[in-house]
């Protein structure tokens, strides 16, 4: 009986998933994030997502920031997970965040011009990182950049929200959520309760 229940639940889950995906036309990469193992990574190229809140220029900066915060390295990052689309969608419905995001993006471009003579996207990767580091690390904070730090905090928060709630984000953490078990999972290190002799960290 229990086995049948699990099957039924899995069917319901997939039906719910299809229903949930349907109302989002234009969410090109979300459909990947929603998707199944069989779909290859090569299918994730953007199909000209049309931002709902940000201008095209703003959206490009948002997308670049998400990539810098959670980059593509040995594993997929914010770009593959469609995080910029998520942020645009959420901010389009979030009056409280619209003003801070818009002014934050202006601040970032003006700040880049002031320091390095080019808007943010005109900078090299290294230069972009040099702009963000003083906003992100306490030890590197600079006087007068409080607004920028606040904008970066919001950007990072939305990026985390958008990344770790996708299938890609779940795989990144090897998130064990919503798997089913026959009995309550038990610590496998019974002889080492203090966990002083674990194998070396996996990463």
């Amino acid at each position: 009986m229990a086995g049948q229940d699990l099957q039924r639940r899995e069917i319901l889950r997939i039906m719910a998933l299809a229903a949930a995906a349907a109302p989002f036309p234009g969410f090109s990469r979300w459909s990947f994030a929603l998707g199944h193992e069989s779909r290859g990574m090569e299918q994730i190229r953007p199909a000209n997502y049309k931002p709902q809140f940000f201008s095209d220029g703003e959206y490009a900066v948002v997308e670049r920031l998400t990539e810098l915060i959670i980059p593509t390295d040995q594993t997929p990052g914010a770009k593959e997970a469609g995080v910029a689309e998520f942020i645009d969608f959420m901010i389009s419905r979030d009056r409280e965040q619209q003003y801070p995001f818009r002014t934050g993006l202006s601040w970032l471009n003006a700040h880049s011009e002031r320091l390095l003579g080019k808007p943010f996207l005109g900078l090299s990767d290294k230069e972009q990182i040099s702009i963000l580091e003083p906003l992100a690390y306490k030890a590197k904070y600079r006087e007068g950049e409080e607004d920028g730090r606040e904008f970066f905090r919001r950007m990072k928060e939305m990026t985390i929200m958008g990344f770790y709630t996708t299938e890609i984000g779940y795989k990144e953490l090897d998130n064990p959520a919503l798997k089913f078990y026959a009995e309550s999972p038990a610590c496998p290190h019974k002889d080492d309760p203090e966990h002083k002799h674990l194998p070396p960290p996996k990463w």
């Binding site: 229940d5 719910a16 980059p71 905090r153 958008g162 959520a177 999972p185 309760p193 990463w203």
Partner: protein
């Protein structure tokens, strides 16, 4: 316009949560005709619980629609259960008081989502007033109530272990949930500090029980269960009551007041049909009110008549008084470096609430600490569905991404559960002006944390930080403030029980002294809170109270309809 229903029932039950659910089951099974009134709708688990959906299946990834954030009541009112928590029926607070009061008015009430911790109260709780001089003792002993606890445990299934602790009587348990890695590490730390770290008593099935399948350990309990593997009225008591054919369940029926006959005894309930917005009267030979402390007080205080000018069964003046609550808050958080970079582990089973640190303070000497009584702590930790610690890690880029991954199995957190003391200044009355959309005067809450419970809060912060450090962990901080009163959803009082009709609203069976055919069957009858949660005790005292009522039906004191 008042619609008159012709049929008369034996008993009208207001509310279908832990207390109302137990009442309707017990009374229906005994052959009585019961009409249960529930303020909200009946849930359809397949539609209303989205617990097996992944965040990317949800339009707002479980965070909810930012455009309607201001309407959210927060807490468990998430996208997973959107449309289940009530937004219409309000309450007010007196100047200077804060109260958080999310209400699930669906059939089964909060049992649909509750935390499932199910510890018995003991004599140390019932005799607390004698031990420390605050408040009043409970009007019964543990020996009197223990057999009822056993019966409830057998009905609902509670997983735990025998622990032999003076403040925590052991019960009849299914096998406990297993300790996870971080449990074993923290338990060692707790041992060094000299505090307990044990299996919680949890009303969740670790094996098949009474025709219900064992838990499948998916971890999404507080968004509802689709297999009924933890106790809820919806899955357990409602089907049993319905099977007797003695139950009529009326949904969207918001109780307004209790009707009295020419002798001032209860004769029924007036309610608002939230569908038609009309007032309806329903009649019964006895009435059970089980609407939660605040709402029970609201209904009874609003039940004014020439017999009961200050609210029904309120000759003592105690109706609405003695409101207490559990103080909640994050006493400490940190991480365990031992687990950095280790493989992920399904730590989130049972929504992570499967262990506890039961009260260890003031056990031998009731005045050993700077505060009286005691608190418990619930530890949480390990791999959670969402990496809530990720904002705490500094920086960005590949090193940041790796740090989030490395820290995934390591976070730990401790939440205090501390009982407030009854104060004259903490109570519920009726707001003289504010009314709900149906014209019913609203409950008004007067509440402040007392000094004693705030001392427990400070104490817990130190001990929990010590446990993290003793376990080899890194302590990262505590909440600045405890949670807002009401947050725990563990309010008690307003109809406290005792033997003296001059001082107490109800007798030791929850029967009101003034109106013998009116019973309160929720935590409103508890004279004081304890370090334990309230639900299993609500069910246990309700079972005992309803069997007392059944005696009155058998002996003819109460006549069948």
């Amino acid at each position: 316009m008042v619609t008159m229903a012709k049929q008369e029932y034996d008993v009208i039950v207001i509310g279908t949560g832990a207390g109302g659910g137990m009442a309707m089951k017990t009374l229906c099974e005994a052959g009585l005709k019961v009409c249960a009134l529930n303020a909200g709708r009946k849930l359809d688990p397949e539609k209303d619980f989205r617990n097996h959906r992944m965040p990317w299946d949800m339009k707002y990834r479980s965070f909810g629609d930012p455009a309607t954030r201001s309407e959210s009541i927060g807490f468990m009112d998430s996208e997973y259960v959107a449309g289940v928590w009530d937004h219409e029926i309000k309450f007010t607070t007196a100047p200077g008081s804060k109260w958080f009061f999310p209400r699930c008015l669906a059939v089964g009430g909060k049992t649909n989502f509750w935390g499932r911790s199910s510890a018995r109260f003991g004599d140390i709780d019932f005799r607390a007033a004698s031990l420390d001089g605050h408040g009043v003792d409970w009007p019964l002993t543990y020996a009197e109530i223990a057999p009822y606890y056993s019966r409830v445990e057998r009905m609902i299934g509670v997983a735990s272990s025998v622990q032999n602790r003076p403040s925590n009587p052991d019960g009849e348990y299914l096998p406990p949930f297993n300790f996870r890695c971080f449990d074993n590490i923290l338990a060692k730390g707790a041992e060094k500090v000299g505090v307990p770290y044990l299996h919680d008593r949890i009303a969740q099935l670790t094996r098949d029980h009474e025709g219900h399948p064992a838990c499948h350990f998916c971890g999404a309990c507080t968004t509802g269960c689709d297999t009924g593997s933890f106790f809820s009225t919806h899955w357990r008591f409602l089907p049993k009551a319905e099977a007797t054919k003695n139950l009529e369940l009326r949904t969207n029926a918001l109780a307004k007041d209790i009707l009295v006959d020419e002798n001032g005894m209860a004769k029924g309930v007036a309610y608002i049909d939230r569908g038609t917005k009309q007032e309806v009267e329903v009649y019964g030979r006895a009435v059970v009110v089980a609407a939660t402390c605040v709402e029970t007080a609201r209904i009874m205080l609003n039940s004014k008549s020439r017999f009961w000018p200050n609210g029904i069964a309120n000759s003592s003046g105690q109706l609405g008084r003695n409101l207490c609550d559990h103080l909640y808050g994050e006493s400490a958080r940190g991480y365990l470096p031992q687990l950095l970079g280790q493989p992920s582990f399904p730590d989130g089973v049972g929504d992570n609430t499967i262990v506890w640190m039961p009260r260890w303070q003031n056990l031998k000497n009731p005045k050993e600490e700077s505060f009286v009584r005691g608190y418990s702590v619930y530890p949480y930790g390990g791999c959670s569905e969402y990496p809530w610690y990720a904002m705490q890690a500094e920086g960005f880029g590949s090193s940041y991404k790796r740090e989030v991954k490395r820290r995934y199995p390591t976070p730990v957190s401790f939440s205090i559960q501390a009982p407030s003391l009854p104060l004259d200044t903490n109570f519920v009355d009726i707001d003289p002006e504010a009314k709900d959309p149906y014209g019913i005067p609203l409950a008004r809450i007067h509440f402040q944390w007392d000094e004693n419970v705030l001392k427990m809060w400070e104490h817990s912060k130190k001990v929990c930080a010590d446990v993290i450090r003793a376990a080899g962990g890194v302590y990262e901080g505590s909440a600045d403030e405890p949670a807002v009163p009401g947050w725990s959803l563990h309010d008690t009082g307003t109809c406290r029980m005792g033997n003296d009709p001059k001082k107490f609203v109800t007798n030791p069976f929850g029967q009101t002294h003034d109106v013998p055919n009116l019973y309160a069957c929720d935590a409103s009858i508890f004279p004081s809170p304890t370090d334990k949660t309230t639900t299993i005790s609500i069910m246990t005292f309700t079972l005992r109270g309803c069997e007392h009522m059944l005696e009155d039906f058998r002996s003819g004191k109460l006549k069948r309809a």
